[in-house]
């Protein structure tokens, strides 16, 4: 199931990824694979950590393992944001 990603979330994901990987922002596109961006397993956990802090979410290990490209990553983040309980009124 692909989640429709808001432009704001997508931009923040791309920015977080670029900052964590020390890449120029323009190089990180939604269609890029982790392989193209030279992201290995260790980079991967650093990115997950940065995203958890950026969006105040917890990314489970099982779902993290299946992600292969930037778009899937953004969709996963959006899903977790949507599932977050609304703040108490």
């Amino acid at each position: 199931m692909s989640e429709s990603v808001s432009p704001e979330v997508l931009t923040r994901v791309l920015r977080t990824l670029a900052e964590t990987q020390k890449l120029p922002f323009e190089q990180v596109t939604p269609e890029a694979t982790f392989e193209q961006l030279n992201i290995d397993s260790l980079d991967g956990i650093n990115i997950l950590f940065a995203l958890e802090n950026e969006f105040d979410i917890n990314i489970p290990d099982e779902s993290a393992r299946l992600v292969r490209n930037v778009r899937q990553l953004a969709e996963g983040v959006q899903k977790l944001i949507n599932e977050k309980p609304a703040p108490a009124a």
């Binding site: 397993s41 260790l42 956990i45 997950l48 950590f49």
Partner: protein, 401 residues
């Protein structure tokens, strides 16, 4: 000078037994020591299970005064060492005691004490720390406490190479005795990694299984942390025979090397190279090996690369080999793991029996090794015991009867 090296005493503390005989009985029965972690609040940690030495009671082994400078990891080392020494029944001359060696391994040292001290400082705003904080947290605390207890004055040090610490320690102690630099050696590893801070750090690395440890199995989901200690008494084979000691096993070789590949991803080539170095050191061909106690952590990456290394080194002969992964029983006790696996391997050789790898679900085509899933008779020959640490530091021991 080159001498054959005998193991004349073994001891251990673990999640599956606080003596070597109790540990062995659990191994034979396939009794897994992995359970809900106790001792502090686990809310907010993604995994809940570990292999704690739950029944270890320090007050049975130390009086209150003795415990003041001893972190749990040092207590575990001392208790395992006492068991090994009681079995070996060494009677050392003054000259031998002056050259007697102690080489221990630990990944963390006194993490329990350090975590508690820093929590009191940062969180509870306590103005001062206990004066024993440094002596408790130093990684050589176990080795140093043993020199005080035994009066041994030879080469004594501690190795810290993450998950390979104990194998590196045992290998170096073996070389000391083999080459005449010490006449007896006490060696092994100990670890007490169950602190809130270190569990949070492991959680962040995303390699810990949410349920249990399933080495080489399809569906494996990571490692499970364990604690404990294993200790061996080493001496020249001729010396052991001359004094009528029981030779439990021999250490036949040791190899160590670095992957120089990646901080956390293991390398099959590095593991295979270290296995070959150990066999060359033992002067044994691959077909002389009947059993491999695998590093077998149950992580996605380790088990695939270790399988490739075993296929590479043992080739077609690997069908005459049995691979067992005892971390499925006692958990991954980090710097103590190699020592617990050495105890399992030595007792396997002595009893001519291979212990099962438990929690296995179904074969993974990427982990094509002849895995021992039930207690089996020892097939033939000698054994290797693998440790491949984060940071790419590998250490392989060879044991024979």
């Amino acid at each position: 000078m080159t001498r054959r090296v005998a193991v004349t005493g073994i001891g251990c503390v673990s999640a599956i037994g606080n003596t070597a005989p109790a540990f062995w009985a659990s191994c034979l029965a396939g009794q897994c020591g992995i359970a809900q972690i106790r001792g502090f609040d686990m809310t907010g940690i993604r995994f809940q299970n570990g292999a704690q030495a739950r029944d270890f009671d320090p007050s049975k082994h130390f009086d209150d005064k003795q415990l003041i400078p001893l972190d749990r990891f040092a207590q575990l080392a001392i208790v395992a060492a006492r068991e090994a020494l009681a079995q070996a029944q060494l009677e050392l001359t003054d000259e031998e005691r002056a050259r007697a060696a102690i080489v221990t391994g630990s990944c963390y040292g006194g993490k329990t004490s350090e975590d508690a001290a820093f929590a009191s400082l940062y969180r509870d705003s306590q103005p001062r720390l206990h004066p024993m904080t440094i002596p408790r947290l130093m990684a050589n605390a176990g080795a140093s406490a043993l020199t005080l207890e035994l009066g041994w004055q030879g080469p004594v040090w501690t190795v810290s190479t993450a998950c390979s610490s104990a194998n590196h320690a045992i290998g170096q102690a073996y070389w000391l005795v083999r080459h005449g630099l010490a006449d007896v050696a006490l060696t092994g590893g100990s670890e007490a990694p169950f602190t809130y801070g270190s569990l949070k750090a492991w959680e962040a690395l995303r390699v810990v299984s949410p349920d249990t440890c399933r080495p080489f199995s399809k569906g494996r989901a990571g490692m499970v942390l364990g604690e404990g200690a294993g200790m061996l008494v080493l001496e020249p084979l001729d010396r052991a025979r001359a004094r009528g000691a029981t030779v439990i096993a021999e250490i036949a070789g040791f190899g160590m090397g670095a992957d120089a590949h990646h901080l956390t991803q293991p390398s099959a080539a590095g593991a295979a190279r270290t296995l070959r170095l150990a066999l060359a050191d033992a002067n044994l061909p691959p077909q002389a090996i009947g059993v491999a106690n695998a590093h077998g952590t149950g992580t996605a990456a380790n088990d695939v690369t270790e399988s490739a290394a075993i296929r590479d080194v043992f080739g077609a002969n690997r069908n005459n080999l049995l691979v067992t992964a005892t971390k499925s029983l006692h958990g991954h006790a980090l710097g103590a793991s190699g020592a617990l696996e050495a105890v399992a391997t030595i007792l396997g050789l002595q009893n001519q029996c291979v212990v099962p790898t438990v929690n296995f679900q179904e074969p993974d085509p990427d982990c094509d090794v002849p895995l021992c899933l039930e207690q089996k008779p020892w097939p033939h020959g000698a054994a290797v015991s693998n440790s491949f640490a984060f940071g790419g530091l590998n250490a392989v021991l060879v044991f024979q009867r």
